[in-house]
């Protein structure tokens, strides 16, 4: 029997979210609604009590929903409605024609699709999807990003969405999006454009996380606070959904935000309560019950933070150098991600001036630095001279020209120098910056021996503390005192900032007090910081670990780190840098003092600071690739507007000039001097081999479209030659273009839950091909095993995620391909078993092409020869690079999976290395000549560690994955070769590579090979941190005597 609404009682719906409480109430089923929202600052029960007291009628049915519903349901028998069901109830009651419901909350995102007309089964039981672990693309991401930009909610409300003006932001992760935003803001991109780009990224993120190939249908109902508050966000949905409907052949329709959108869940809960038989609640009794406190938390807790500063912690004061020349002055500038820091230091190490600027505008910061330095110089004693200007940090590339810098110092090097100045025996340096965390291991001479740069998942810890404190109503300066006053600390996970924030919400829900949550967050800091470099800490025993960065001003954070280091680095002293947030600027200045720009033998030049009144304006976007990177020009004051001092925003060195011709000439000149074999391989793999002649007369014309992704980076030469040998014309075997930000943005909304980026990019490639059309067969092979040079391994299997990825294509595109009258072919191919491969190829393509098995086999023979020809040619070029790396010149082996040569996946590292003067090559390009290898592996062979030069069993006996085994082999090659550095690439979330990480690292360390590990590659191009890592790597190469070629 259906419940009957009671007219003698009212109804109240409560939505307890991560940051707010929303209440909807009415006096009777046909009465008007009253709604109210308030932020709860971690005290949700009290907030509910207050709003219920304000809005509720004396007697009412109560429905509760939201992530924090338990704070109410623990105290009274309210009807608990999951947020999704509350939203469904709302939609059914008030917007019954909606076909799709998309609801964004503080931490959650939900999509509900009602299929069919009223009464259809799909309406009664709609498809329901909710976001998984990550809260990217929800309200919390928008809040954090707006806070970073200094844009208020009201300002963001007025921002219109212009699809053509959006900038490329990461859509996968809120932290990544934040990183991109900060970089764009520093480049001078207007705030309105950034906010519109944020809306765009939020929509794309949700199309990934929620739709997963499911097409949201019209009319689409947008619910939740973000949709209600930001019309531009709704416009972004409308644009993206229209685009999706166009590609998938769906009928376009309305996308709308109802007036009650912000209170939809609360209204849904109230409506559900109206339909229930439960006893009505009394307003005053409920208020008393809610005011009784939040009850016992359920989470695991850690003990309070140490009440005393551990004895191992030293806080030296900054000391001048009595023997130094106080007449020499150097300006050091650290143009950071959010704050510009500058110091004027003399030769006696006196800090004459220090400024910290956070205008968010690099040009304004430069002007302010110059002005402050000029004042300090004016006040300096006669006879003193500004000898050098040294810049470092994220913005060094454009800050340097504006200030007429004499030195550009690699950020890691600057921090190492600063640490050594504070603690001459520094063994480890930990700098927690605004955007990244750097951990540097220093050798006895103070040079960087190893380094870890985390620009990804651990990013923004300092900011996380700040934003959490604000959320909890704790003043910025009060974080340490609050955290230290807590008697317990809920145990946060070790994940990225977004996950830490999700934990924070969970703890608030469980009733932890604000100071306890802050204590827990502070306790999480060292776990996150030392997650990568923890094992290196053990080597610091007897020496100093120096803590740098602004967060080290926080006493609670220092104590938490010291406690952790007591375990990880027993016997080490923990030294808090005397000027922790200025360490980068200070290090740059000290570096310049030690290395006068005009050479040590000459007297230093007397420099004057330019009068800086820089202007920032848009510059033409770079046109050298499909990414069309938007650029900004920074001109010094007084200079002609078309003569920029610096260009900012370009994604690679090619974009560093406004003149495309000059850029091309410079690139060609560099190519001649420094071969980028890695980049060459990426392009050459997909070129037609003119030596391949048709082995059979074509029976019928079949046009193939093939995504340039994943296993095709291994199999393309073979597959292309096979199809050509069967009579296909060159233009009938079409590959998608290389991965680019533009290609990814256009085709990224087909969605998989969350595999690695190369797998997700496959869908964007297929989207590109399907959108262009003009093919008869979409060919996406499932390559299960690969041919490799490695012998004796357990197997040469493909990664299961990669091999299964064509199933994603089938799920997302089967209908679209069929609608174009084409076929989707995803044959299983075992490249390692010739007999099986022959059968698989003929079995999957023979009927379509009208070929016999014999013809197919002959074509495969042709293809095998073509593939071997490609490999031989590449290895010959590799030999040229290796032979050229002599007389002190080094080269770089990029240790990665075959598909990492895709420039959009490896973020153009080959070109970046070439710009630094180092040629690069892949494992595939290494020589396979046994005599050549035997000479280099002679020791391994002599002591019986390996049976032949292609044996890796001593490194990982159970190696069974083709890419993993090749990584091990390549690492040994580099370790034995003598002139190679190693750039070790791996995609975020690649557990296949995790198994090889330790043996590779150990082998390279033992052989003293300069190594740079970038193990979290993802869709976002970490331009600045990538460049910093590569510059540090180049520094390490030079220090090992491996010079650049230019």
């Amino acid at each position: 029997m259906a419940p009957i609404a009671r007219h003698d009682v009212g109804s109240v719906g409560v939505d307890v979210g991560s940051t707010t409480v929303k209440v909807a109430a009415r006096d009777a089923p046909d009465a008007p609604w009253r709604t109210r929202v308030t932020r709860h600052h971690g005290r949700a029960a009290e907030a509910v009590a207050a709003l219920v007291g304000e809005l509720a009628p004396p007697r009412f049915g109560l429905g509760v929903t939201g992530s924090g519903a338990a704070v109410v349901t623990r105290r009274c028998a309210a009807l608990a409605a999951h947020e999704v069901f509350a939203a469904i109830t709302f939609a059914r009651a008030l917007h019954p024609t909606a076909a799709t419901l998309i609801d964004l909350g503080g931490q959650d995102a939900k999509l509900v699709r009602f299929d069919g007309p009223a009464g259809a089964p799909g309406r009664a039981r709609p498809a329901v999807v909710m976001n998984d672990r990550c809260a990217a693309g929800t309200g919390v991401t928008i809040d954090r990003c707006l806070a970073r930009l200094g844009v208020s909610h009201d300002e963001a409300r007025d921002v219109a969405y212009e699809p053509d003006a959006v900038q490329a932001l990461s859509a996968r992760c809120g932290v990544f999006a934040e990183t991109d935003l900060v970089n764009l803001a520093r480049r001078g991109v207007p705030a309105a454009s950034l906010v519109a780009s944020l809306f765009d990224a939020v929509v794309r993120s949700n199309l990934h996380a929620l739709a997963r190939g499911l097409t949201p249908l019209a009319p689409a109902l947008l619910l939740g606070g973000p949709h209600a508050h930001f019309p531009g966000l709704a416009d972004a949905w409308a644009w993206h959904l229209a685009s999706l409907w166009r590609v998938r052949g769906e009928v376009p329709g309305l996308v709308f935000v109802p007036p009650e959108a912000a209170f939809a869940s609360a209204l849904g809960a109230a409506l559900a309560a109206e339909g229930s038989h439960a006893e009505p609640h009394q307003r005053d009794a409920l208020r008393r019950a809610l005011a009784a406190g939040d009850g016992a938390p359920a989470a695991a807790v850690d003990p309070p933070l140490p009440q005393e500063t551990p004895t191992a912690v030293e806080r030296p004061v900054w000391r001048a150098h009595p023997d130094g020349d106080a007449g020499r002055l150097v300006l050091g500038v650290d143009a950071g991600s959010t704050v510009t820091k500058a110091v004027l230091v003399d030769g006696a190490r006196n800090v004459r001036m220090a400024v910290r600027l956070a205008s968010g505008d690099a040009a304004r910061d430069a002007a302010a630095v110059a002005e402050a330095a000029r004042r300090a110089l004016d006040a300096a004693a006669p006879g003193t001279a500004l000898e050098a200007v040294a810049v470092t940090g994220y913005g060094a590339a454009w800050m340097g020209p504006l200030l007429g810098a004499s030195h550009a110092v690699v950020e890691t090097v600057a921090h190492a120098v600063a640490a050594r100045a504070a603690a001459p025996d520094a063994a480890l340096v930990c700098d927690v910056g605004g955007q990244d965390i750097k951990v540097l291991a220093l050798d006895g001479a103070g040079e960087i021996e190893r380094f870890w740069v985390s620009s990804r998942c651990a990013a923004g810890l300092g900011l996380a503390l700040e934003t959490t404190a604000r959320e909890l109503g704790v003043a910025r300066g009060g974080v340490a005192a609050a955290a230290l006053s807590a008697r317990r600390a809920p145990r946060f996970g070790d994940g990225c900032v977004v996950f830490l924030d999700a934990d924070r919400v969970s703890f608030q829900r469980q009733g932890f007090a604000p100071e306890e949550i802050l204590a827990g967050l502070v306790r999480a800091l060292p776990r996150v910081v030392w997650a990568q470099a923890g094992r290196a800490a053990a080597a610091a025993s007897g020496r100093a670990v120096v803590l740098q960065g602004g967060v080290q001003h926080n006493e609670a954070a220092v104590r938490a780190q010291a406690e952790r280091l007591a375990v990880d680095a027993p016997g080490a002293r923990v030294v808090v840098h005397p000027l922790p947030d200025l360490a980068g600027a200070l290090g740059a200045a000290l570096f310049a003092l030690a290395r006068p720009p005009d050479g040590p033998a000459r007297p230093p030049a007397r420099r004057t600071l330019p009068t800086v009144a820089p202007q920032l304006r848009d510059a033409p976007p770079c046109t050298l690739c499909d990414n069309r990177c938007p650029r900004a020009a920074i001109s010094p004051g007084g200079a002609p507007a078309d003569v920029p001092a610096a260009l900012a925003g370009y994604g690679c060195e090619a974009g560093a000039s406004l003149d495309p011709g000059a850029a091309a000439r410079s690139r060609q000149a560099r190519r001649r001097a420094v071969p980028d074999l890695y980049g060459h391989e990426a392009a050459a793999l997909f070129r037609d081999d003119p030596a391949v002649a048709p082995a059979v007369a074509p029976r019928r014309r079949v046009r193939f479209a093939i995504p340039r992704a994943l296993a095709l980076y291994r199999a393309a030469p073979l597959l292309r030659a096979y199809l050509r040998a069967l009579g296909a014309e060159p233009h009938d075997v079409r590959f998608s273009p290389p991965t680019s930000e533009a290609l990814w943005r256009r085709g990224a909304h087909h969605g998989a839950t969350d595999p690695c980026f190369p797998v997700k990019a496959l869908l964007a490639h297929v989207h590109h091909l399907v959108e262009r059309g003009g093919f008869d067969a979409l060919l996406v092979p499932r390559v299960t095993r690969a041919t490799t040079c490695v012998r004796h391994a357990v197997d040469c299997a493909s990664c299961p995620v990669v091999a299964a990825s064509p199933a994603l294509v089938r799920a997302a595109f089967e209908a679209a391909v069929a609608a174009r009258g084409a076929r989707l072919l995803d044959p299983e191919l075992d490249l390692a078993r010739p007999d099986l491969l022959a059968a698989q190829l003929h079995g999957s393509l023979g009927e379509l092409l009208g070929t016999t098995r014999d013809e197919s086999d002959r074509a495969l023979d042709v293809a095998r020869r073509a593939a071997a020809r490609f490999d031989n040619a590449l290895q010959a070029r590799g030999r040229v690079v290796l032979d050229g790396a002599r007389d002190g010149r080094g080269a770089v082996l990029i240790l990665a999976r075959p598909y990492h040569v895709d420039p959009g996946v490896c973020h153009h590292v080959g070109a970046e290395l070439a710009a630094l003067g180092y040629p690069s090559l892949s494992i595939r390009a290494l020589p396979r000549d046994e005599a050549y290898l035997a000479a280099r592996f002679a020791d391994d062979l002599a002591r019986g560690a390996i049976a032949d030069p292609f044996d890796v069993r001593d490194l990982l006996p159970e190696a069974d994955n083709s890419g993993g085994a090749e990584r091990l082999w390549g690492a040994r090659f580099a370790a034995r070769h003598g002139v190679l550095g190693v750039l070790d690439l791996s995609s975020f979330k690649c557990a296949q590579d995790a198994a090889t990480a330790a043996p590779v690292a150990r082998l390279l360390r033992e052989a003293d090979v300069p190594t740079c590990a970038l193990h979290d590659l993802d869709e976002t191009r970490p331009r600045v941190s990538l460049r910093m890592a590569l510059q540090t790597f180049a520094h390490a190469m030079r220090r090992r005597g491996l010079r650049p070629w230019t």
């Binding site: 409605a81 469980q510 299961p800 994603l808």
Partner: protein, 370 residues
């Protein structure tokens, strides 16, 4: 000394007991807890699935500084981590630590690696596996009842362990406790667990306590049997149909006997061979996909037989094998199917979020909106 870890709290003890009964020196490690996750993260490089860190932490905690321990663990994800785990243990101060990962996909020779005579060892080990499966099923039902029922399962386990250690059959132990092990009232709903072995077998930490959370709501969480895992291993290793059939028969007979003795029926093991063709369209069965392949087979089987209301994949963060199936295939396949599928990514955090997603999936599965 062989240390057994990773097969499940009951199976670790019974497997070790059976080895002792065969005259070997063996012991079981304590089940992983959240402290082990933190410890494991400090010992192993980044990028491993969280299950790996639990395993490494539990192994290091168990070994302490005692030398020459060989950890016998299931080779999920093809066992590609064995050397890395051994290295981490040695680095952590466990001299001479070795790891033997029994990987189904690699057809690891169980008898050779364990240095056992199959003729003598097979019956004892098959019985240990079967008794563990039956006691797991009994424990799942006991969680729905009360503490006394859970104690009864513990007592049966201790008796079975003693019997196997003595080289005897555990049948008597099961018979003695049969009355207390019998299932009580039927559950409100049934959730079939799948995913990585550690996550499905160690509910308290690795599995985020979700089986217990479900039990508190009257829902039975049915973990896959270890017999099923061994059937998969046998199928992977089989080059001879007769040998495969005889292995399957031995395992299934042992399970049937134990189930009949205890009066408890564990979930029917999935026969991978039977599902290979159905799965092939979505996931290459020749692939080293491990639990990923079994995930797909499980979902297909449950969807056909309708013997559970929801299939829940417990997927450690960054688990490539499980990702291959649950991210790439089943999320899409399950749309519009009779049995819903939910994959939860576990990383030792976000408990409230996991429970919220599970609650929603349950409500959708049962379609019981408030």
């Amino acid at each position: 000394m062989d240390v057994i870890l990773g097969f499940g709290p009951a199976h670790d003890r019974l497997f070790a007991a059976a080895l002792r009964g065969l005259g070997r020196s063996a012991e079981a490690a304590a089940p992983p807890d959240d402290g082990d996750l933190a410890l494991g993260r400090r010992l192993m490089p980044r990028g491993h699935p969280s299950a790996m860190y639990y395993l490494a932490g539990a192994a290091a905690r168990h070994a302490g500084p005692r030398p020459d321990r060989r950890f016998v663990v299931p080779g999920d994800r093809c066992g590609g981590y064995a050397s890395d785990l051994a290295r981490a243990l040695v680095d952590a101060g466990v001299p001479g630590a070795a790891v033997l990962a029994l990987a189904p996909e690699r057809a690891t020779s169980l008898w050779r690696d364990l240095e056992l005579d199959p003729g003598r060892a097979a019956p004892a080990l098959a019985e240990a596996v079967a008794v563990g499966d039956v006691l797991d099923a009994a424990a799942a039902r006991a969680r729905l009842a009360d503490v006394a029922a859970e104690r009864a399962v513990d007592a049966a386990l201790a008796d079975a362990e003693r019997a196997l250690t003595a080289g005897a059959s555990a049948e008597g132990a099961l018979r003695r406790h049969a009355a207390a092990l019998s299932p009580g009232a039927p559950p409100r709903a049934r959730v079939r667990l799948t995913g990585e072995l550690l996550a499905t077998r160690y509910d308290r930490a690795v599995g985020a306590g979700l089986a217990r959370w479900l039990a508190a709501r009257g829902v039975a969480a049915e973990a896959p049997t270890l017999t099923e895992w061994l059937l998969y291993a046998a199928w992977r290793a089989a080059s001879d149909g007769a040998v495969l059939a005889s292995t399957q028969r031995a395992l299934l007979d042992a399970l049937r006997r134990a189930a009949e003795t205890a009066g408890v029926a564990p979930p029917s093991p999935i026969d991978p061979a039977a599902w290979a063709d159905a799965a092939r369209r979505w996931l290459p069965v020749s692939l080293c996909a491990g639990s990923g392949f079994m995930e797909l087979a499980t979902w297909l089987a449950v969807d056909r037989d309708r013997d559970a209301d929801l299939v829940l994949s417990l997927k450690p963060f960054a688990s490539i094998t499980s990702s291959a199936a649950s991210d790439a295939v089943i999320q899409t396949l399950a749309r519009g199917a009779a049995t819903p599928f939910l994959a939860l990514e576990l990383n030792g955090d976000l408990q409230a979020q996991l429970e919220s997603r599970l609650e929603l999936a349950l409500q959708v599965a049962l379609w019981s909106p408030p």
